[in-house]
């Protein structure tokens, strides 16, 4: 009797969470899979009409969808690359024995990541805006003239990248800093005694030991990267033209601006496939701790 009870206990612990997640995740996604095979304009009182695969075929033949995916990957590539590079650099500075007032600098460096993305986006919009934005003034001080931060189609995406880099570099910095602080001082001193230069220590000791931290920061940035929405919706609304409309914004516009619910559901599924499938395949390599038996 006792043994039988023991066997059920693990499931009693695990099941509430799993059941809740199943209900609140699986139901919406299955029902929107159903919707994705229907043509449904939300304002139409007749409701959804069966459309077969038409939503998917019209999306797959729409070149602007490919552009939107491409823009998302360009945005993620630039911002994550810069966040990693700058984040690691700042962490190395903050860990340097030569730096004074470390706590003050660290406190200042982490502030952007605490600021609500919606506020950050609004704020940067004000700084970017037109002729009178402060950043237009700053650019003119450097002799760049009216640079058109968010009005120039070939510039706008990079301006948005600046915002994301400013906001999320601190996250990478904090994780790398935790990694640097976990490296024993004895190890570094021993290397110094043996005559290793700073550069050699960095290359042969610091970076190999930092590897797991770099990996975790990188993964978290990819996950959070797809949450970027505010900068596009608030700063540019995808403009000028569609120069800053990545897939995250396309989805929102299709669903909530044009009320094409059927197509938007189909697009949600395309995006899920693009994002989740590769991650699931590599999950056991990326997350050895959680996926082990």
């Amino acid at each position: 009797m006792e043994g039988k009870k023991e066997r059920f206990i693990p499931y009693l612990f695990l099941m509430p969470a799993v059941m809740v997640l199943l209900c609140i995740v699986m139901y919406p996604f299955l029902s929107s899979l159903f919707v994705s095979f229907h043509s449904w304009y939300l304002a139409n009182p007749l409701g959804p009409r069966f459309a077969g695969l038409r939503n998917y075929s019209s999306l797959l033949t729409d070149p602007s969808i490919y552009t939107a995916f491409k823009l998302a990957f360009v945005f993620l590539g630039i911002t994550i690359g810069a966040q990693m590079a700058i984040g690691i650099g700042l962490a190395l500075w903050l860990n340097s024995p030569y730096l004074k007032w470390k706590k003050v600098f660290r406190s200042i460096f982490i502030i952007p990541m605490m600021i609500a993305p919606a506020v950050a986006a609004t704020l940067w919009r004000i700084m970017f805006v037109g002729q009178y934005g402060i950043l237009t003034y700053v650019a003119s001080l450097f002799g760049l003239g009216n640079i058109g931060w968010i009005d120039n189609p070939s510039m706008a995406m990079y301006s948005l990248c600046i915002v994301a880099i400013w906001q999320w570099t601190p996250f990478v910095m904090l994780i790398i800093l935790a990694g640097l602080q976990s490296i024993g001082k004895e190890l570094l001193e021993a290397a110094q005694v043996d005559g290793a230069t700073d550069r050699k220590i960095l290359h042969y000791i610091t970076f190999p030991l930092l590897r797991p931290y770099i990996v975790i920061a990188f993964i978290m940035r990819i996950i959070f990267g797809f949450r970027a929405f505010e900068v596009f919706r608030i700063i540019t609304r995808g403009g000028p033209g569609r120069a800053t409309e990545p897939i995250m914004l396309t989805l929102y516009l299709k669903g909530f601006q044009y009320l094409q619910i059927g197509q938007a559901s189909a697009l949600s599924y395309l995006m899920l496939l693009m994002v989740i499938v590769p991650i699931m395949i590599f999950a056991s390599r990326l997350f050895p701790t959680i996926t082990k038996e």
């Binding site: 730096l99 993305p117 797991p212 938007a264």
Partner: protein
């Protein structure tokens, strides 16, 4: 000679950090300064460095908007979702850390994959779901949606803390007649409280700042703070001063919280990394 070189290094690296600090802090300065500036001054060209501060935007804000309700909506949503995620997530994470469970690996990967769900792709399904349930424009809808993100997060972040506890203490308690739940509540949770609090606070920050779902799921009465920003954005006029005033009110508590707990903010992430 050696000391001198060290001093030069100190000066260079400090100057570099000051430079980066200016870049990092300037937008924050601008946030606060536009919110206490007359609108005509805020958009002067070239910009005016010295201005007479005014609280007119804040006064207008408190006179025309139910700020207290926005705050309480945000607080209710954030605290409910984080408490709910802890209540369901801690036993689950403990079970994954300690017990032998069939298909444990598959369950873990599934929970993890929820973490990677891009919110943009989840927006439409959740909107339709809440519409069907009749929960649009309620705080409950946000609590449910945020929990789908916070619960996997809590499970993932706290699991390695439970794994790192020495098994012997728990076994001793079991022999002394403590139930499994008692072991979790009296021993495992208190011993990993540091890690749990860090993970929970990270969820607090994410939920407090969340915009997309709050934007599509809330209505006038259930607005959380981040959404209110959009309501100042009318076709005729954009109330920049007021937007940034509410922005300042919104970010202040979180920035203070973040600076206070800065060292522990990423503990949940890095703890798992070491073991990986």
């Amino acid at each position: 000679m050696h000391i001198k070189r060290g001093q030069i290094k100190t000066i260079i690296i400090t100057l570099l950090c000051v430079l980066v600090s200016i870049v990092y802090i300037f937008p924050v300065y601008w946030l606060v300064s536009v919110s206490i500036e007359k609108t005509v001054d805020a958009f002067r060209f070239p910009p005016k460095i010295l201005f007479t501060p005014t609280l007119e935007h804040y006064r207008a804000l408190f006179e025309t908007r139910p700020i207290a309700r926005y705050y309480s909506n945000t607080l209710i949503v954030v605290s409910s979702t984080v408490l709910l995620s802890l209540l369901l997530g801690l036993p689950a994470s403990y079970a994954l850390a300690r017990f032998r469970i069939k298909r444990k690996k598959d369950i873990s990967i599934w929970i993890l994959s929820l973490l990677m769900l891009p919110p943009a792709a989840a927006a439409i399904p959740y909107y339709l779901f809440m519409r069907q349930l009749g929960l649009l424009h309620t705080r409950l809808s946000l609590i449910i949606v945020y929990s789908t993100f916070n619960l996997p997060f809590i499970i993932w972040l706290t699991r390695s803390f439970f794994e790192s506890l020495p098994k012997e203490i728990e076994e001793a308690a079991l022999i002394d007649g403590c139930s499994r739940l008692g072991v979790l509540w009296r021993i495992a949770i208190p011993l990993s409280s540091h890690g749990i609090v860090c993970s929970a606070l990270f969820c607090v920050i994410l939920s407090w700042n969340e915009f997309l779902f709050a934007f599509i799921l809330t209505g006038l009465r259930s607005y959380t703070l981040p959404v209110t920003i959009m309501s100042f954005w009318t076709d005729k006029h954009v109330y920049w001063g007021q937007i940034l005033a509410i922005g300042t009110l919104l970010v202040t508590p979180i920035v203070i919280l973040g600076v206070v707990i800065q060292k522990f903010l990423v503990t949940g992430f890095t703890f798992g990394a070491i073991k990986g």
